[in-house]
Subunit: 528 residues, 2 copies
């Protein structure tokens, strides 16, 4: 199954951060003087010596040595070498006859729990030249992270999980190879943005302690390894770099997002939010960064709502309710007949119900109503009403409440207020397609001037692209990962108190949401 | 078959160079604070952070990551870690419960064309704690280097050659493990001194261009790799380091020898000679080094003499001829009945025949004699006379002449004279057991004050030991390899001229050999 046709998943990244090109793998065309009795250096040493000092003393893998001798002679001493960075040292990972410097590719991977997106990158220009996406092959082994961690604890379970996602990646690589007429052996580097559990399962690491107090991963900074060590079918010597995690619940995907936003280099206070199955929040600027995370729950992904579904063709992703007539209008992904409601549709429902005065600020239907028909049976694919229920509302309110509470714990922790936030970044596919006004209306996002609210799109993939093409970005990612202060909410009583008190739309204190307050007032939903 | 009982092969090294202990692999006992909600670093990151800054940012192989988590918990956060140096970076190669710092072993390997010697080294003290030796398993595939290079060019031939020598090494490792009650997984580093062809065949590199002009090896400085990459059964992550070569005919065994002699750090002019199947010579001091090499030929190893044999039990290794009575006395290895004459015995024969006046300075029997009976049939194991023939003499004269000519080419090249040499180092097993006086008498070695003539013993193995226990030595080895000027004799007309003119005993110019001149004069073999 492919999701490439689904516009809701593949994103063309906007470039927020401009980095100099200094990619993980670099190609050089070299013409060497052939050996003679008076110039009888060994083949590999001759080649190495011809390199610029900057790349001095690269490691030459044993498996490359014979190849160097063979290709040098076959190519009449005119060759292209590929050097890849493995941490602080360079490694000679390929030698080809003639000038192939134009063919230098990398793979930026956004490895999500549900979806995997591979961006084919031209490492010379840093540009995206192709994209392929699919569901994570682990989905059939377990929908959510906890199930996968549980299944991984079976004998051989980690290997099974690893194979599933590596197969997914290899299929995507095949597709990119075919569609863009490249040779996968010329994919010379791969970088991955993934949450901590996905990173563990990709690398075959034991995730079992991630979900048990005190929530300790095997590793947060796995650094560089060979892509072939996990079975990735690219150049066998190509480096694989996983964006470093902060902890069990703030992964490389988030660190990649911060990198992509550039908030860690700016003076103003920013809030970065990635809401999906988990909700992660980063608050900070160039001087400090704090993070927290919590199981946002699948409420927002359509996973638990009565008529919820993934953002696939047939999903209602946009809902409007006329405040006068209470008439509903909606749009579906792909324009097909409606099958259910995806996350952004659910948020729209909640916001529109509030603004239409059908529910109150506590999220309860006024009167005896128990549900709201979004798509009548006559229009749906299933032949049944597609509804939005009180239970659905309560679920979303809980998630929203958790996000609000977490944010307040963080703000208090650093002595700031909601009003101090100057820039807001919405990360993740969910953040990209969610209606901004609806998210603000229900209080999921803060109520800032709209020009200071930035959708990052697939910032995990963009972070992976940045570390592929810029070693400076790679260093920044590691600094971010080491420098973030993590608030462990699982252990916080303050959080529980805030959580209980945060179940109002958009917020207990309406003054934090001036535009929503104004809208509700205009519609006569608030008494002055 | 084992040659460990043969005193002629296993040598206890005299230590000429005193280096500080800074071994290739180092162990540290660490007690960690267990993780908690307030101290929730990932396992591997926690371990790494506990290391001294000197070892900061070691590479952690993917295969070690799960093991770190497992052992830390099993050992209640008290563990011993092993860090190995791979070039400029450290790698975490083992973690064990409790304090195992006392068990830190290395393997110094003298990989000869004929014989392989493995020294088990205590990496904490730098001391040799065990030795095992055997014939190189490649011998059955080809006695000499050229045959092996030829056989390696068959399809799959390189792999066959590699397996043969790796099997030999693994058998020696098993023996050391048994005899010294150690665990091979606690052998954390291996270093090899080998000639260039042997190094190629050990690493599976194509040796075919080593013996064809312009004599280009695949690589001279192979650097660090994992011992397991070639199938060596020690700790799977242990580094394997091959002493670097200078060129096709001056290998890591010679660089190791220079290292062991320390001549590269001393002000005085020294000559280093390793005569075996090949003859290698190094001339120089702390400011400069020149080298040359030539096929000394198997003449000196007993390979081609009519009754020549290897230095095995039953070989005549010492011969004396009474100048008055011309009566012969001899000694055999192991004291057994004589089977043949080994290299040192042949040199003795030639020297004694000269000093007894039986041959002249041109190496010809006086009168009609064609051979000299060393062991009469009645005393030999074979029941036949063991003789030393005119053909044998001619062969040795050729080898000696080649050595003299090469030395003179080198001396001329640097503007020095034989008399300028201040110290002489005799390397290799042959150099160790050869009678010094006989070698001087025939002009194979220079005629220096005896206290300035030093037998190095197994200096290739000693060089391997030095790079194992001292990173400074490893750097010196690489500097030596890069800094030596190599005289290619194969292309030298001057060499051929010198060669033709150098076939006198001990030398055309007797004044270079004052003690020999004096001895011959005393015996009436020279007219004033």
């Amino acid at each position: 199954m492919s999701v490439t046709n689904n516009g809701a998943i593949i994103l063309k990244n906007q470039v927020l951060v401009d980095v100099g090109i200094n990619p993980m793998s670099q190609k050089f065309y070299i013409e060497l003087e052939p050996p003679s009795l008076l110039n009888n250096q060994a083949d590999v040493d001759r080649l190495i010596k011809s390199l610029d000092n900057h790349y001095h003393n690269p490691v030459v893998p044993l498996a490359m040595m014979n190849k160097v001798s063979e290709v040098l002679r076959r190519a009449d001493w005119r060759v292209t070498v590929t050097l890849a960075r493995f941490g602080e040292s360079w490694k000679l990972i390929d030698i080809e006859p003639g000038d192939t410097t134009g063919h230098n590719f990398g793979l930026a991977i956004d490895l999500g729990t549900t979806t995997v997106v591979c961006y084919l990158i031209d490492l010379n220009s840093g540009e995206i030249i192709g994209v392929a996406a699919d569901y994570n092959g682990q989905v059939v082994l377990g929908e959510d992270i906890l199930t996968r961690i549980y299944r991984a604890s079976d004998p051989g379970g980690i290997k099974i999980m690893q194979s599933a996602v590596v197969d997914t990646l290899n299929n995507l690589i095949s597709r990119l190879e075919r569609e863009h007429k490249i040779n996968r052996l010329q994919i010379y580097a791969a970088a991955v943005g993934a949450n901590t559990t996905m990173m563990h399962l990709l690398l075959g690491l034991d995730p079992s302690r991630i979900c048990m107090a005190p929530y300790i991963p095997v590793i947060n900074l796995p650094g560089f390894m060979r892509a072939s060590e996990i079975g990735l079918l690219v150049n066998p010597h190509a480096p694989l770099y996983c964006l470093p995690s902060v902890g069990s619940y703030v992964g490389g995907d988030i660190v990649g997002g911060i990198l992509a936003s550039g908030l860690h280099k700016k003076p103003e206070l920013a809030l970065f939010v990635d809401i999906g199955t988990n909700g992660e929040m980063i608050l900070g600027n160039r001087d400090w960064l704090v993070a927290c995370a919590g199981a946002a729950g699948p409420a927002l992904e359509g996973g638990v709502a009565r008529h919820g579904m993934r953002a696939e063709p047939g999903a209602v992703y946009q809902v409007r309710i006329d405040p006068e007539t209470k008439k509903v209008s909606y749009s579906t992904i792909g324009g097909q007949k409606a099958r259910g409601i995806c996350g952004s549709g659910l948020i729209d429902c909640l916001a529109e119900l509030l603004l239409a005065g059908i529910i109150n600020r506590a999220g309860k239907f006024k009167g005896d109503q128990k549900e709201f028909v979004v798509v009548p049976a006559s229009e749906s694919q299933t032949g049944k009403d597609i509804t939005f229920t009180q239970v659905d509302i309560d679920n979303i309110m809980r998630t929203k409440g958790a996000v609000n509470a977490a944010l307040e714990v963080m703000l208090e922790g650093v002595g700031c207020q909601l009003a101090d936030i100057e820039t807001f970044y919405a990360a993740g596919a969910f953040g990209q397609y969610l209606d901004l006004e609806s998210a603000i209306t229900i209080g999921l996002y803060p109520d800032l001037p709209r020009e200071r609210m930035i959708r990052l799109g697939n910032s995990s993939g963009e972070g992976a692209r940045l570390v592929l093409i810029s070693d400076q970005s790679r260093r920044e990612a590691e600094e971010i990962s080491r420098g973030i202060t993590y608030f462990e909410l699982n252990a916080s009583e303050v959080f529980m108190n805030k959580f209980v008190g945060s179940k109002f739309l958009p917020h207990t204190n309406l003054d934090y949401y001036p535009t929503v307050k104004e809208k509700m007032f205009r519609r006569g939903l608030l008494q002055e």
